[in-house]
Amino acid sequence: MNSFFYGLGLIAILVIIHWYVANDGMSQNDGSVGFLAMKPVKPRDIPTGSSSAKKSFRRKQ
């Protein structure tokens, strides 16, 4: 079982490195590719919440 875990540990670090290279190294830079993908972030400029907040945002635009 120890060797199995050791092998799993080695594979896991390769998966992380691959995920990093696929997302950051290739300049996609949003972390949305692959098994370890992150949840997308909401851009700051897009208001969330009530409709009045959205109207206010459009008015400011």
């Binding site: 079982m1 120890n2 060797s3 875990f5 050791y6 092998g7 540990g9 080695l10 896991a12 670090i13 390769l14 992380i16 490195i17 995920w19 990093y20 290279v21 997302n23 950051d24 190294g25 830079n29 949003d30 972390g31 949305s32 098994f35 370890l36 993908a37 992150m38 949840k39 997308p40 972030v41 909401k42 851009p43 700051r44 400029d45 969330t48 400011k60 635009q61």
Partner: protein, 434 residues
């Protein structure tokens, strides 16, 4: 066989580092935290993998187009100051041959911390680093948890030999420090499968901490659980999960475990506790008599020093991170260390405050909160252990530093855009604000 597999992974990592220097940071962190060469039984145990990866990473970074300038903030300043001071203090060590190898390990940790603060320039990089930290420590946590469940908790879970997490206490604390980071990954991962796997791993790590029979680990676990429950958004979920785990562990663990944990109540009568008080007395006495220097890394543990302040008593390690630094590096070293702690806590509070209502930085808000829990675990567990120079503290300092740069730059840019949209110059806006 393990040696060959490890070498193949390291070679792949080094080749990638030449093209992408940040891969070197990930590899370096992995080797420092997981010490995979100690789990192999052949030539790689004595092979300087860590040094080779460090040299290749620094070389690749210098010749790359990556940012060269560190964030010139309090964290960077204090990390450099601490490195300079422990080096100067090293020449005053009681037994340099004893102290320098430990210094050698510490300077590399600080160098790694500084490099992280330079190169972790975005969310993807920070996220990858957190994955590496969690993988490195949870490797032992998951294994230990399964071992505890399979053996009925009758045997102690210990870490890899010849590493900072080699004994049961330090391994338990390291797992607890990484516990909140695993939760951060669970919160931020898009894949449901990944989230479930992380949750299972966290449960196994809970059993690993229990199976370590560590009293310091038990106290740190209690502190982390209480604070996590108090801060949880879903107030009912954490108590239920924790309650189920505690009830199961209570029925599962043998009487010897409860006997061991029960000695916390009578700590004053315990010989081990008295030994710690003696060690604190030695650390304080030496630092006072040799102001501003300390005895060098683990110097107060040497019989020729311990015997002066506590004659005819058995030598003991400091078993407290702050007394450890005091005895090793004197009052100046302690002052820098405490200031570093203060800056880390300050950065965490500021980041939480600034990102609380910014959806774009919800990940910074989550990560700062989880890193605060990491610090709580380290502070509570570290009050009963000699673990002051553990890598995760310096990595945490670097992460807060780099996240502050990220958040401040973005918020300033957003404010300027908003000002320009309103047709005002930033200067005019500032003047009006004043």
């Amino acid at each position: 066989m393990r040696d060959i597999a490890l070498m193949l992974v390291v070679i792949v990592g080094i080749i990638s580092t030449i093209r992408y220097p940040y891969v070197g940071i990930l590899l370096w962190t992995w080797i420092t935290l997981m010490v995979p060469h100690q789990e192999a039984f052949g030539f790689s145990r004595s092979f300087p993998i860590n040094l080779i990866v460090a040299v290749v990473t620094i070389g690749a970074w210098i010749f790359s187009k990556e940012r060269k300038q560190p964030p010139f903030d309090a964290t960077f300043f204090l990390l450099c100051l601490f490195l300079i001071w422990i080096t100067i203090n090293g020449f005053q060590a009681v037994d340099p041959q004893w102290s320098w190898p430990l210094w050698d390990r510490t300077w590399r940790i600080i160098a790694l911390g500084i490099l992280i603060s330079v190169l972790a320039t975005g969310r993807v990089r920070v996220h990858a680093l957190i994955w590496v930290i969690v993988l490195s420590v949870f490797y032992y946590g998951v294994k230990g948890g399964l071992f505890t469940l399979m053996t009925g908790g009758h045997y102690q879970v210990v870490g890899p030999p010849n590493s900072p997490i080699g004994d049961n206490n330090t391994l338990a604390l390291a797992i607890l420090m990484v516990f909140p980071l695993a939760n951060y990954l669970r919160l931020q991962s898009a894949s449901r499968l990944v989230r479930v796997l992380l949750f299972v791993a966290m449960i196994l790590c809970f059993f690993s901490v229990v199976g370590s029979y560590s009293r310091g680990g038990f106290l740190a676990l209690s502190a982390v659980v209480v604070i996590a429950i108090l801060r949880a958004k879903r107030k009912w979920l954490y108590p239920v999960v924790v309650g189920v785990l505690i009830v199961y562990a209570y029925q599962f663990m043998p009487q010897s475990y409860f006997d061991r944990i029960g000695t916390i109540q009578h700590a004053q009568d315990d010989g081990s506790f008295q030994g710690r008080v003696d060690a604190w007395h030695v650390a304080y006495g030496y630092a006072k008599d040799h102001f501003p220097f300390g005895a060098g890394f683990s110097g107060p543990e040497l019989p020729q020093i311990f015997g002066i302040y506590e004659p005819n008593k058995e030598t003991h390690a400091a078993h407290n991170i702050f007394f450890e630094v005091l005895g090793d590096n004197g009052f100046v070293g302690l002052a820098i260390y405490v200031l570093l702690w203060a800056v880390i806590i300050w950065n965490s509070v500021v980041l939480r405050y600034k990102t609380k209502k910014v959806p774009e930085f919800s990940w910074v808000f989550d990560l700062s909160g989880m890193l605060q829990l990491t610090l709580v675990a380290f502070c509570v567990g570290g009050s009963a252990l000699s673990f002051a120079y553990y890598d995760i503290l310096f990595i945490t300092a670097a992460l807060f530093s780099t996240m502050r740069v990220l958040v401040d730059d973005r918020l300033i840019a957003t404010r300027e855009i908003a000002v320009n949209r309103r047709g005002m110059s930033p200067e005019a806006s500032s003047a009006r604000a004043i």
